[in-house]
């Protein structure tokens, strides 16, 4: 841990109501939430991507494995990618046992996050409804509920009357084109203030000596011994990364990017089962609270929740064609509005205020690609599709363990890149519904 002592800092003031009051009275200001550091020539590990996954990985490397000589590199600012563009939904009601166990751990970590990181991430476990509009989707809901229960996850199928009780704004009559026949109800599901998660991990990692480097773009990954050009590719090992701020030598590089996962992995000569599609989202003007739960409709490809500020936040399924531009489209908001009004006719006078999009790395089996690659020292935490945010804490924890111990933790064995060589894909593909 070269130079660690030199860069450790005295613990800054904790956040609390008392501290707020004190500083308020004294008119004092708060210290920087994380430091600006010079880029070192060498680190024990380099994490590419300053989003929730990269920051959580760095945090757990330091907290659980004492690896603090770690740099997190982001080509823009922290949380500038999917972390700040998602709809902040957290749930664990997946279809497969491996998925359920994994996301259940994530929910558990989210529940403790505010205290552990000493920042209010506003995890609002308001309940999560996945609506079913057909026999087929209702069957899938039952399937998920049964697997969830076996995994110890609170999840059950409820009927239109109970749905109406949980969420009065939904049209549970049999009139609409897509009548609501039932829903998978998941009480622990909810929403989190996504930016706070970014800042919380960054601040906590910073306290332990991890360095956050913004506006630091990785332009190449340096390898030796691989079967490809420049020693890249299978059989080789990582020696460092090249950035717009100079070269860094490191034995471990962890690709925690979304949207650029293929491009970064190509730098190490690793090809991925990923295509990148934008996922769009939109927010309305605020109105007084009326939507108590998170509502998802797989068949209608829409999910919606109301923020504490009173806005409705919407998302849909990814754009139909592969694309790296995040400009957003009109047809997205049109389809979205139509589907929302199918569910909640009463909101037709609410106005869309802003739309945006983020990049999603879609895999063939709707499951991530995590862990080791054919290049020694190059790890991936990618392919997060539309469900990366909810997995951030557990991914960070597991990736940190993999990087620190050199062994694949049980919880992520199913998500190994090698499954695509032997054709043993993850069964989340069985659930034909948007992954929110």
């Amino acid at each position: 841990m070269a130079g660690l002592a030199g860069r450790l800092r005295k613990r800054p003031p904790k956040y609390s109501a008392a501290a707020l009051a004190w500083k308020g009275l004294r008119g004092q200001s708060w210290p920087r939430v994380w430091r600006d550091c010079d880029l070192q020539r060498s680190y024990d590990a380099v994490v590419i991507g300053g989003g929730v996954h990269g920051l959580a990985t760095a945090y757990y490397l330091a907290r659980n494995h004492g690896m603090t000589n770690v740099a997190v590199l982001d080509k823009a600012y922290l949380g500038s990618g999917g972390s700040g563009r998602n709809t902040a939904i957290v749930r664990s009601n997946y279809l497969t046992p491996e998925g359920v166990a994994f996301y259940d751990r994530s929910v558990h970590l989210y529940e403790q996050m505010a205290v552990e990181l000493n920042i209010n991430v506003m995890f609002s476990q308001r309940g999560h409804l996945t609506l079913a509009h057909s026999d087929a989707s209702l069957r899938t809901m039952h399937w998920r509920a049964e697997v969830n229960k076996l995994g110890g996850v609170n999840s059950s199928v409820i009927g239109p009357d109970e749905i109406k009780k949980e969420c009065p704004s939904l049209d549970t009559s049999d009139h609409p084109r897509y009548p609501i026949q039932g829903a998978l109800y998941h009480p622990p599901g909810g929403v989190v203030r996504h930016d706070a998660v970014v800042w919380g991990y960054a601040r906590a990692a910073d306290h332990m000596g991890v360095e956050m480097h913004q506006k630091t773009e990785v332009t190449d990954i340096l390898c030796e011994g691989g079967d490809g050009p420049d020693g890249k590719g299978a059989g080789g090992r990582v020696t460092g990364v090249r950035t717009n701020r100079g070269d860094i030598s490191t034995p471990i590089v962890i690709n925690c990017t979304a949207g650029w996962a293929s491009l970064i992995s190509t730098m190490a000569g690793v090809r991925l089962p990923i295509t990148t599609h934008p996922l769009q989202a939109a927010v309305t003007e605020p109105v007084k609270m009326f939507l108590p739960t998170v509502v998802v409709s797989g068949s209608l490809h829409v999910y919606v929740s109301q923020t504490d500020r009173g806005e409705l936040v919407f998302g849909a399924s990814v754009d139909p064609y592969a694309n790296y531009s995040v400009r957003g489209s009109l047809e997205f908001t049109e389809g979205l509005a139509g589907h929302v009004l199918e569910l909640m006719p009463g909101v037709s006078r609410m106005r869309i205020l802003r739309q945006w999009s983020g990049l999603c790395d879609m895999t063939p089996d709707y499951s991530p690609v995590m862990g080791f690659t054919p290049v020694d020292g190059f790890l991936v935490d990618v392919g997060w599709g539309t469900y990366g945010f909810k997995a951030a804490p557990v991914s960070g924890e597991q990736m940190a363990e993999a990087a620190a111990t050199g062994r694949t933790p049980k919880l992520i064995e199913a998500f190994a890149l090698s499954r695509f060589d032997n054709g043993e894909l993850v069964g989340e593909k069985g659930a034909a519904s948007v992954g929110h």
């Binding site: 650029w260 293929s262 491009l263 295509t275 139909p320 064609y321 592969a322 790296y324 531009s325 695509f420």
Partner: protein, 90 residues
Amino acid sequence: MLLVPCPNCGPRNSTDLRYGGESHARPDPNTASPAEWRAYLYLRDNPAGWLRENWYCASGCRRWFSIERNTATNEFRDPPLPGNKRGGAA
């Protein structure tokens, strides 16, 4: 709404077409190794730039065609070629 230059219909709204993904040759099913076949099924170049890909003019001429598009800027390189290779698993 992206305009996709269909070789038969001319420029059409992207919602009139079905996206067929990256174009690449289908390996010989009788000689392909598991690695080759699964690369064909699953692995993608996914570049941020020029990409040859397949489209199906579903609402128009109902013809599959292959064309180069820049995935960062959404420009197309005319003219598209009819037919060409398929885009992997259904």
